[in-house]
Symmetry: C2
Subunit: 862 residues, 2 copies
Amino acid sequence: MFLLHRHCNRNRSSLLLCLLHHQHFSTLSSSPPQPLDVPLSQPTYMIWSSNTSLGKTLVSTGLSSSFLFSSTSSFQSKKFLYLKPIQTGFPSDSDSRFLFNKLSSFSLRRQPPLSLSLSDSVIYSSVSAAKSVLSDKFRAPATEFGSGMYDLNLREVNENSGRGEAVSQLVCQTLFAWEEAVSPHLAAERESGVVGDSEVLEMLSKCLREGLESDRERMEVLCVVETAGGVASPGPSGSLQCDLYRRVIVCFYCLCLIFKNTLAFSLMGIKLMAKKKLEVICHGLTAHVSGTIDRPFRLPGILVGDGRLGGISGTISAYESLKLRGYDVIAVVLEDHGLVNEVPLMSYLRNRVPVLVLPPIPQDPSNDLMEWFDESHDIFNSLKDIMLSAYTERIQRLHDMTKKAGEIFWWPFTQHGLVPEETVTVIDSRCGENFSVYKERDNESITQQFDACASWWTQGPDATLQTELARDMGYTAARFGHVMFPENVYEPALECAELLLDGVGKGWASRAYFSDNGSTAIEIALKMAFRKFSCDHGILLDFLKNNTAERVIKLKVLALKGSYHGDTLGAMEAQAPSAYTSFLQQPWYTGRGLFLDPPTVFMCNSKWDLSLPEWLHAKIVNLQDMIIHGSGGMHMIDPLFQRILVNECRNHKIPVIFDEVFTGFWRLGAETTADILGCVPDIACFAKLLTGGVIPLAVTLATDAVFDSFVGDSKLKALLHGHSYSAHAMGCAAAAKSMKWFKDPQTNINIISGQKFLRELWDLELVQQISSHPAVRRVVALGTVCALELQAEGCNSGYGSLYASSLLQKLREDGVYMRPLGNVIYLMCGPCTSPEICRQLLVKLYRRLEDFNRVEEKVRVG
Amino acid sequence: MFLLHRHCNRNRSSLLLCLLHHQHFSTLSSSPPQPLDVPLSQPTYMIWSSNTSLGKTLVSTGLSSSFLFSSTSSFQSKKFLYLKPIQTGFPSDSDSRFLFNKLSSFSLRRQPPLSLSLSDSVIYSSVSAAKSVLSDKFRAPATEFGSGMYDLNLREVNENSGRGEAVSQLVCQTLFAWEEAVSPHLAAERESGVVGDSEVLEMLSKCLREGLESDRERMEVLCVVETAGGVASPGPSGSLQCDLYRRVIVCFYCLCLIFKNTLAFSLMGIKLMAKKKLEVICHGLTAHVSGTIDRPFRLPGILVGDGRLGGISGTISAYESLKLRGYDVIAVVLEDHGLVNEVPLMSYLRNRVPVLVLPPIPQDPSNDLMEWFDESHDIFNSLKDIMLSAYTERIQRLHDMTKKAGEIFWWPFTQHGLVPEETVTVIDSRCGENFSVYKERDNESITQQFDACASWWTQGPDATLQTELARDMGYTAARFGHVMFPENVYEPALECAELLLDGVGKGWASRAYFSDNGSTAIEIALKMAFRKFSCDHGILLDFLKNNTAERVIKLKVLALKGSYHGDTLGAMEAQAPSAYTSFLQQPWYTGRGLFLDPPTVFMCNSKWDLSLPEWLHAKIVNLQDMIIHGSGGMHMIDPLFQRILVNECRNHKIPVIFDEVFTGFWRLGAETTADILGCVPDIACFAKLLTGGVIPLAVTLATDAVFDSFVGDSKLKALLHGHSYSAHAMGCAAAAKSMKWFKDPQTNINIISGQKFLRELWDLELVQQISSHPAVRRVVALGTVCALELQAEGCNSGYGSLYASSLLQKLREDGVYMRPLGNVIYLMCGPCTSPEICRQLLVKLYRRLEDFNRVEEKVRVG
């Protein structure tokens, strides 16, 4: 009745070879990887534990028995899928075999016997584990095995047919196994069988798809994925398991230089352990591109806690480690040791997560546990019911979210009349640069989309920084909550201000004025500039002398046409009339400025071009009595023009404001655009990427001279503008961490030591190809931004146009989330995004442009 | 040479009696408790551990030896203070005695012997532990002991005089001991020896003060406080230790009703375990006041990790639990088990926290460990050096912060010329409503101040909610980071919107429009109101028909004089001229409204009074073509007047905006002021307390009718106003948690089931007394706010006045942090603050008013 299969027996490459494979794929092939879907069609849970040996496998076994042997509801038959991605101590230990054996016994004991088909398979193992399995049965020569992991494909089957009922199934799978009974990272290192995180998750994803999708019409399925050791025990690559299962990391490194260096090559083969190490080694050897793709992979879980003395602490800490990585824990299970550990646990969890207590587990190894499982029957039944109903609730909520959102949200910049329910994106989570998106159509699943809006121009962290920021946010909220700023000092605010003045403000700024967002930073900057100008031109003195309320002086700004500095009225007054300032939007807008049409730079037909506005030839502008206002946006203003304008203003004692809300912190490839323009302002505004893109915070930096114009002996002369959350601790902590992270070559692969600019992210050849495409009018690629204007006429062009919608819908199917600005579309990444990912985005965009053009051609012809 | 003392032997009350004691104090005595200082004069560290039995005491022992036996620097002698607040398994286990014994042996072994004085004392123990200690020696009759903790005061001394050098000291103290070797909460329950968190920390604080302060001039001191079990193991009250040592909780309950109920009384005596439980029991029996004072108590720590299989996970999780509570961990120490656990730990910690590895600890109980300590000598030396230099760095940083802040911060609303360095407050942390403030003068220490500014009107959480929010912030940052809002939906945003519409928007609002702060929420509200008004009055149709850019229609708002709606220009245009809008501050301000002088309500000489402005008698206002604008601030506007105004506007189809940025979410005692006014708006703005006061977020709620005026087939008709972080996940998660927390009687002691208003927080009698004080002009006490205007004339009155400064400086010495609005001062608490704390604040304020008045009298007379 028991069958032992051994399928193919080919050697599998080590991580190093995998890396080469990825590298090969990344430079030669133009097929970007497909989004990795996590099926949602059946309830699937991780089984976590706060320590080793607390009975995860007993819980899985109890669950499988409870699920398979409970009376069927509407379904004909059932399937329990048990996946054990990482197993050490194999073959003497095998959790999947334990479950398989126990269920085999259970099913035989049952009266009437259940018609059950059972299987247990082990897919890959280390060479030494494979030897130890196979030498007994096959006496295969040792030379058959190379290094790295072995394609074991061991399979045991037990067809336990009962009476003619429909056949239920137990499918147990161990994905990767090692021989030594130590932590997977050690076993992997010692047995030269290192497996990358991406390989674990890709294999897991494959097993999930195959296991869950095949019979979903006629079968009720419950799936558990059992982790190894504790929640933060390292996996085979050295990544902590709670990090490993949160995301897929696909590493690719340019190893060409390493190829030539055989010493390094073999060194890596031996030493390779943690991703971190690899990065360091690679970094030392080659200046070539390296990076990771992080994709979210977040399953809800059960935590097996610790009922022993000291176990409350470990259980709570493990729970917190999972929460700190964005996991949901739906139940805690622990063994009774007579210490009623469940009472403080329930109190801690405020009864929001159920805590279930299992009877004491017999310690005698000869005990077959049958009695214990009988005793635990009700507990496992409850646990199973909790899992099934949590699944139903989750699916229902995901399903309802688009409708509810459409009913109660009022999205900014959105014509609700034009947003059908099915186009609303349900974001289940994000990891690094990627959204996890609920996909209802076809097979219900969670799929990935690269957030090419950089979550609306704010986004910076890769997955590693996101995890660090999460911990920092927890720490800062616990340590400070929020504390008011004026006349106080606390560590995050001070560190943030120090880093700002030593970073983007270096060489000119002396003071940091915090606020909440770009608009408020701009309004504050305007107030500063007005005061400075008034001081420098004797207006203030006049005002104070005459103490007059008459506002005879009309101060205006000098700003650039097409510029945009935020949505509050003050910020709007400093921008030229546009769709945003019309009577429809803001009846109070007057536009208090002189708005210059600047020359812009762009790429068209593979060549860089410069637009020259007419006035630049025609007239001379009198800059007196005006304030210059820097600009950003998707038009790249000629830097030379900007520098000359700044110099001219300085000559006329007109304070210069740089609006770096969008452009600052590497958005355009430099930490500050002062480095691009080659000149510095008197005042500059920062927001968005300042906090790494996780939390609102803005800052207006100023020179000592600007600050001095507010100093005096009266409070009324001080700058009386502020917001409750000025310099709030969490924002400042996020900013401090992100500023350091982005500029450190140890943490940001795009930083080259000693250089002021990020490495080139957008493949020049591809950008040129796109700029020559007939559907494209112009392209601008700089730093983390690649924007393109589509050829469009009449109502198809401009901000209100919906012209790009169909193109962007197609790109979402490719796993790229973009948002149009009328007929302008853009790809935006973070300062740490690898050039390879950018290249993949460009390839996907180019392909869809081809399709788009064909359709548009047809429309034009037809 | 060994002495055994036994001092007094009085029975000590159980927790229940302590509670009664507190209760007594809280209603009858008018002496508020003194702030609890944590001395900073000497390095003091917590010793944490990720599990039991990992060698915390060995680490303490090695440290003490390394510190005491190292060559002295500039100091004559040294003192190592070892505190063990919680000991179970006593007397057979006593960590302080272990350390005492080991050091006794070490000092004898030493050549030349060190002149060392050693002592070990145990202050309180459970009765059964005391019996077990004392019955041997004293054969004391069992009847001598009552229930509760026993004042054991056991003391062992070893005067180990060496050659005539100055005497160094080892002082070991166990604060509370229980007999059973189980978790402290269990031991305390089983031995009827429950000790409250506040008692543990007050005793600890006392021991620290006595141990650190006495010899600080002539001695170098190092102090460690060793915890029991793992970081999250429960203490005797059931509170997790990582929570217990973070804050002092002083419980006080009104037990008068319970007194009459002997059944409940005895029930409590037996069942009393966790604070939570007590609250539930109390809550069920009495509607009287109960609550806690939370005060920060945050020492840096060493984490003793786990070198065993599975230990990486436990160590990392324990570290994360500590970070999640705002603790700093300066080093991790673990025992070598041959598994190189330190490698993944260092990788996880990114080398920012050192990881030290101790040699394997001999398991044989007969081993005296002398050899092991010799082997570990260098490790402990390094650890000691890390601790001493981290201390020096910390003190230096705290010392420098005020100066640095003065140099690089630009505080809002602050005349920097008037802020001397010594008045700047260095906030080391906050816990619940209290700041931890660095005090440099006298003895360097960390002291507590109640944040009576409610961190500038935003603050809400008590310490428990703060811990929950910290975990939620970590979770949300890990799960979502930030994801852009338009056309998307994600759980925190949806839940937040649902709660808003079912809470403050209930009965009228249908849509939630998110932004960043009160100002932006107001600007958005104005845009909504303009559009709605334009639709209702045919202006929009005219505009669209003629498609004219001419702005012939001048829209104005109708608002209240003295109102304040934020600092951005749009929000300012809707307020009457004031110091904030002068040419000095905002040259673009024009003030586009009709500003009504409203009648206000206040208390004076113990009576409520109403001010009636002249115009109310004189003229009739034409409300046509205007928009009403609600107001807040420290003037309480007559609710009847407001309701009539709202009705009048509605009759004229003028949209009504409620500015609830300050007043919303229980600030004035109701979740929304709609409940106070008895009418609803068309649009309302919320911010500040919306997130519980930890992170910026704002929302503008609107009716369906308002929303509909933006719906159409063109994007240009949509509301084109937004901010990058609109509905950011962390803000929405904080808001969802806080909204639920504040309104739930289970979590907010001030909520009475079925009632719309918070219980009265400000003692009426005291408020009346203050309102009758000669230094006071008027008082307004409502909800969480108690504001008073000081009698002041000429330049002493108004916003620019510094009149209140000296009064507020004195209050800071009493542990109350306030900030003036000119000659108006206020006390502000959170929705969960207990009335007893408010009463203490009033008492402190009243006392200082007396002093203040005496001084002012002298000035007037002199």
